[in-house]
Amino acid sequence: MTSILKNRLFWPAAILVVLLVINMFTSRQFVTVQDGHLFGTLIDILRNSAPLILVGLGMTLVISTGGIDLSVGSVMAISAAVACLLIQDLDDQNSVGPVLLIIGIAIAVSMLMGLWNGTLVAIIGIQPIIATLILMVAGRGIAQLITDGQIINVQSGPYATIASGFFAALPVALLIAVAATVLILLLTRRTALGLLLESVGGSPTASRLAGIGARRITIMVYVVAGGLAGLAGLIYSANIKSADSISAGNLIELDAILAVVIGGTALVGGRFSIAGTVLGAVLIQTLAVTVVAVGIPSEANLLFKAVVVVALCLFQSPTLREKVFGRLTPRTARAEVTA
């Protein structure tokens, strides 16, 4: 019992469950089967969490090295813009092959953006927040240039599938997010990458002297984060079948960082938790849905969010937990001393 309570992820999970239960009551269909696939609020939440999960995964890796990536939102916009621009020019928007190729190109472009960030941070040695701020500002401008400030619409079936399609009764977007999560988990926990990342984040100097090629690893992490943000951008734009360079991924960096922190990864770097980030991302998305479902007036949205975040960070605080739950185990010896 106490060991469950002590787990950092207990409270986010508990709050998530509470929010889901609320949604169970407010929604008419929580999970049902319709047209041969799953449908309902829960599925919507999971499907819509996909971009945040993807961005959060990349952010987790970046943060584990002690960095931060503010440019993810802009990278999302660029990737979406590139993809939609190219798809728009296809003769047959519904042919799968070219669309896949275009998706590949968009992700490659995003990884290039990540490479840029990584180079600034690891080679030139600029503080991550300012290095990625450059792309955050300029990147959205680039996306706007690509789309000429307008929303580019596409009518590509295969493209829309990555956001709203279903495969084996499950939403494709969710499957992509799950696949990425599994991939990152394998990448970090089945290879030595996780250890090396935590080491670089824990102490860059000590890591360097232990012979870890911190530069290469740091660059790689930003590249991966860029690629994942690009993928998130594709899902975002496929969801609305258009590239909206202004709103795509706007302010998502804050949500992503919040998801990472809720998930128990410290912003100073070091130990990280992939599962925690995914939980955090789903929690944030659920919160957004709950606000609408419960009918909280839009001007009070932020207050509601504040209450949840405050509750969460207080519950997660080890000291508060000790003060509240520590009483459960009587400490006679200590009582004597204080007396």
């Binding site: 503080q127 450059i134 990147g139 922190v261 009070a300």
Partner: protein, 334 residues
């Protein structure tokens, strides 16, 4: 036997020669780059050389400057304060609402400043006592402050109070054709006071010590908790002061005011050479950082033919050029 003393130069003199200015290199580099940037503006744009362009930088960025000063303290301890923009909005909304409700301005002013400080103190307390990450604690503060502002009033509220208007319209003539406003003076005073505090007081030095190594600072017997809470209080106060300046500058209150200002403030600090990991940097650097961002904005305004997309790209490019040059210069000098 080779005389040891001539080639194996005694270590002390050499260190004395370059170490002390080594720590000012970033500031000097930033300053020179700023001068270069300004000169190229003068060379390229008509009227750019007008002294009022430079003087106006202080007026136009007064709010950012005040907020960034508070942020500098927080960042020096290794923390971060995301709530400043929201505190600004809450302050402007409260100020406007209270003044509209007929409260005397001399009551409103201290009230909102104290409120800002209290919000900061609350965040600091949560960070210190409950060991909550500053990022998440102040993000909650952001939601709370802006949420409150929005629930008080979604719409923008004009301020018709005479004192506010008088201050807003008051001009200080510095020279023929060069005027500035009280808010700029307030902002410069804030910088001055902060610089003195950081350099000459125990509190200031504790801030650096905590940023350098909080565990060590604790073991050295420094009041870590008190100092941490104090810097967030200070940052909250500065944000509220920024809010007041904002409400003076725009004679209105609005819940969406100061959106994203926290990032600008953090960026200004970092551009000015303050290390986000804490323990290193100067308020003067922050001042330069604010001037750099302000100058970039001015150049964009003078360019005058950039649409939104190009505005962003040019801001990015200028920022990039500046940061990379700064980095290369400081690295060489080391």
């Amino acid at each position: 036997m080779t005389p040891v003393t001539d080639k194996g130069t005694p270590t002390n003199p050499r260190r004395r020669v370059y170490r002390p200015n080594a720590k000012y290199v970033p500031i000097i580099a930033t300053l020179s780059l700023l001068v270069i940037m300004y000169s190229s503006g003068v060379a390229n744009y008509e009227n750019f050389g007008d002294p009022s362009v430079f003087v106006n930088l202080f007026r136009d960025n007064a709010v950012l400057l005040v907020v960034a000063v508070g942020m500098t303290f927080v960042i020096l301890t290794g923390g971060i304060d995301l709530s400043v923009g929201a505190v600004i909005s809450l302050t402007t909304v409260l100020t406007a609402t209270l003044l509209k409700g007929g409260w005397p301005p001399l009551v409103v002013l201290p009230a909102v400043l104290i409120l800002g400080a209290l919000i900061g103190a609350g965040q600091g307390a949560v960070i210190h006592f409950f060991k909550v990450e500053p990022f998440i604690a102040t993000l909650a503060g952001l939601f709370l402050a802006r949420g409150t502002a929005l629930t008080i009033n979604e719409q923008s509220i004009p301020i018709r109070d005479d004192m506010w208007k008088a201050i807003s319209e008051y001009r200080i003539v510095l020279a023929e054709g060069v005027v500035t406003k009280p808010i700029a003076i307030v902002a410069m005073l804030a910088v001055l006071i902060a610089a003195v505090t950081l350099a000459w007081t125990r509190f200031g030095r504790n801030v650096y010590a905590i940023g350098g190594n909080a565990d060590s600072a604790l073991l050295m017997g420094l009041p870590v908790g008190r100092t941490k809470i104090a810097v967030y209080t200070l940052s909250g106060f500065c944000a509220a002061l920024g809010g007041v300046l904002f409400s003076i500058n725009s004679t209105s209150g609005w819940a969406l005011q100061g959106n994203g200002l926290e990032l600008d403030a953090i960026a200004a600090c970092v551009i000015g050479g303050v290390l986000l990991t804490g323990g290193s940097g100067y308020v003067w650097g922050t001042l330069l950082g604010v001037l750099v961002t302000g100058l970039i904005q001015t150049i964009i305004n003078f360019q005058g033919d950039l649409n939104s997309a190009w505005t962003r790209i040019i801001v990015g490019v200028l920022l990039f050029a500046f940061i990379v040059l700064q980095r290369l210069v400081t690295r060489k000098a080391r």
